[in-house]
Amino acid sequence: MRNLMQFIGSDQAPSCLTRRQILFGVGSVTATAWASTPDPSQAQKETVLKFGLTPVFLSNDLDLLAALRSYLEEATGQKVQLIQRRTYQEITSLLIFGQLHAAWICGFPYIVNRQQLSLLAVPLWRGKPQYQAYLITSQSRRAKNIDDLKGDIHAFSDPDSNSGYLVTSALLAERGLKPAAFFSRTFFTYGHRNVVRAVAAGLAQSGSVDGYVWDVMRELEPALTSRTKVIRRSEWLGFPPIATSRSMANDPQVQDLGRAFLQMSGNEKGRKVLRLLRLDGFGLSPNMTYPKIARKVALVRGLE
């Protein structure tokens, strides 16, 4: 399986962190200016539903993508276009600016941009809308906790990923440490599968990865995951949600899209998609506020 998101052009030279700050600032200003008016975006008038996918998704599986699009088209009665980008930031930006009807994003960018975003559905994994973040290292290594990873070359998945960056940064922040000081070197792989690859190959001595992705990979690619091991599982955190721009939340097409996810388990095609995703279904609760992730964001930002 290949992570297609790796092949999306990454020719922007400036660092992701600086760019994120700029985009957040611009996004905030624009969102405020446009908040009170219905979004006259092109997406509203278009007949194609644009759904964004981030590296949280196992988007290297073309069969899965085809099955998902097929289901969504049938469920919504409209053409669906799956939009993939290399980074969480790009998808989040497209979503906020109304270039996408909805997207499967991570809890971290949702929390950071919750004023501009609205939840449509949350995946249910093992019966719960929750997952864990894993710290992994090489199978042959004797490390047992994060303290044993000091000085490592560490692989993160995305600077906007909860499990692939935020959880580990928060863990270090509790110790008053930053990743740049704790690890000898860090790099981003822009894909949870890539984090597993990097640790399995020895490119990185340890990595931060989505537990759901690692567990599914253990089933689908045991040869890869067997070269790694989990040395720490985080507390249960809110699963990466399906979100939309707050300005498009009442859009009928967007609502159709939301319903399609919520009703996925009641449809044969939908169940096929769920089987491929190893999910039980999608749900939505008004209480999904991702408080733990929010606390981690505050902790990390407090240290910055």
């Binding site: 030279a13 070359i153 690859r197 190959a201 020895g202």
Partner: protein, 489 residues
């Protein structure tokens, strides 16, 4: 004989020709195989260089942006993807260094960790690579390639790549073995084919060799008609010419034999006339003595003188007749020589000696009672002819000498004359065994020819000396065989 077999010059042509062909085949195939292999190696290396160049071109262009940003993951991912993509190339290791010479990413991060510098061991194996040129190490089945990463005319990093060339080497070995086996097979096949072909071609030569060999042994035979082959073929023409030559030789041999018989008759005639002369000489005196006795027989002194004269004359006649009888005694089926056989010859040549006149020095040192293991008639013929030739060549009032002695294994005879020396061609003729089947000179030399023929029959060797003061000395050595010594009467 066994030692001679190791010398190639003694091998038959049916063996030498195919061996030469095989040798040429081996040399030629060796040269061609070498050229083929060199060409294969050159083509493989060129192909490898092109492939590795394309690999590095693709890799370089895809990772330069990531090297600029020191993006470890993207560089590693590019290495992984390009390694899987090139089926004609087998990159074993690819290491990307940044501008500071530190590892940015490698296909084997365990051996070449990110941010590390290359160790001495690493450098030993990697730094064999040269910029812009592929370095091949067949002993390690590896090829080393080095490429600089440049951006805006600045070096931003380096790529080292180790390629596995075991498939190339395996291909070379396969081609080499195929060439070897093919050449061996072809050489054996062509060698065998050449052997049979040459054997077939030179079979007529063997036939010719057989008949020539028999000719050397004395029997010159023509090649039978069924072996002549086609008249227009080379060997057919050769055989027919050989048969014509055989006919000519046999004709000459017949002629020579006839001449030899006539010579013998001529010699016989000369001897007969000599004997008649020797008998006639005392007859006149004897008849005078008889007449004296008739007239004055009453006188005692006349009777004594006349009887004495008659006795001397009769003795002389008796000796001559006895010698003549001994010379022309029929061959006694290989009767061996006795010393007296030679002494008889002295009597036979007396008329010839008196005619010139010549002095004879006779020395027969053979043991009186011994029988010598050599045919008596042939030796007597040889000596008689030598003496007659010596008398003919000697000057008037000159001297002829004869010496005979022996050892346990050979009989030695020497005939000398003063006066003329034997011409060089006749000397060579006499000294050469089996010199000729025909006399050396149409106008003479029959006696010498007979001497040579008879010498060949008894296995004798002749040596001719011509002293500076003139004359000729002919020495003949006749090998003796063992005989039972009976009393020689």
């Amino acid at each position: 004989m066994k030692r001679a077999a190791f010398f190639p010059s003694t091998w038959p042509i049916t063996l030498k020709a195919p061996l030469i062909v095989a040798l040429f085949m081996i040399v030629t195939s060796g040269l061609i195989s070498s050229q083929v292999l060199n060409r294969l190696i050159s083509t493989q290396e060129k192909h490898l260089e092109e492939l590795s160049g394309a690999y590095l071109d693709g890799l370089s262009s895809s990772i330069i942006p990531h090297v600029l940003r020191e993006d470890v993951w993207e560089v590693f991912d590019a290495l992984e993807r390009t390694r899987r993509r090139y089926s004609g190339l087998t990159p074993v290791e690819t290491i990307v260094l940044n501008a500071q010479g530190r590892v940015l990413a490698a296909s084997d991060p365990q051996t070449y960790p990110t941010s590390s510098t290359l160790t001495t061991d690493h450098r030993a194996s990697l730094f064999i690579a040269q910029m812009g040129k592929i370095v091949i190490a067949p002993e390690k089945a590896r090829a080393y390639v080095l490429r600089e990463l440049s951006y805006q005319n600045r070096v931003i990093g380096r790529i080292y790549t180790l390629l596995d060339i075991s498939k190339l080497l395996s291909e070379r070995r396969s081609v080499f073995l195929t060439l070897i086996w093919t050449n061996v097979l072809l050489t054996l096949l062509l060698g065998a084919g050449g052997y049979f072909a040459i054997r077939h071609i030179v079979a007529p030569v063997a036939t010719l060799d057989h008949y020539l060999g028999r000719g050397l042994q004395g029997t010159v035979e023509r090649i039978p008609d069924n072996l002549l082959g086609k008249s227009h073929s080379e060997f057919g023409r050769l055989f027919r010419r050989y048969n014509k030559m055989v006919a000519a030789v046999n004709e000459r041999q017949d002629l020579a034999s006839q001449l030899a018989r006539e010579e013998k008759l001529a010699v016989l005639g000369r001897l007969t006339s000599g004997i008649a002369h020797e008998i006639n000489n005392p007859l006149g005196g004897m008849l005078n003595a008889v007449d004296s006795m008739r007239r004055h027989g009453a006188r005692a002194d006349v009777r004594v003188t006349s009887l004495s004269l008659l006795e001397r004359g009769l003795h002389g006649i008796r000796d001559v007749v006895r010698a003549a009888l001994a010379s022309y005694r029929r061959q006694d089926n290989g009767r061996h020589l006795r010393p007296s056989d030679l002494d008889d010859l002295r009597l036979l040549i007396q008329p010839t000696l008196r005619r010139k006149p010549l002095e004879i020095e006779w020395s027969n040192q053979l043991e009186t009672n011994r029988i010598y293991g050599t045919p008596a008639d042939r030796v007597r013929q040889i000596v008689l002819n030598l003496l007659l030739n010596a008398c003919a060549a000697a000057a008037s009032n000159g001297r002829v000498s004869f010496l005979a002695n022996s050892s346990n294994s050979a009989l030695n005879l020497v005939v000398r004359n003063d006066g003329k020396s034997l011409p060089k061609n006749y000397r060579e003729f006499l000294e050469t065994p089996k010199a000729s089947l025909v006399p050396p000179n149409e106008n003479g030399g029959l006696g010498l020819w007979m001497i040579r023929r008879l010498a060949d029959e008894v296995g004798a060797s002749l040596i001719v000396r011509c002293p500076d003061e003139g004359g000729t000395e002919i020495s003949i050595t006749i090998p003796l065989c063992q005989v039972e010594q009976r009393h020689a009467a």
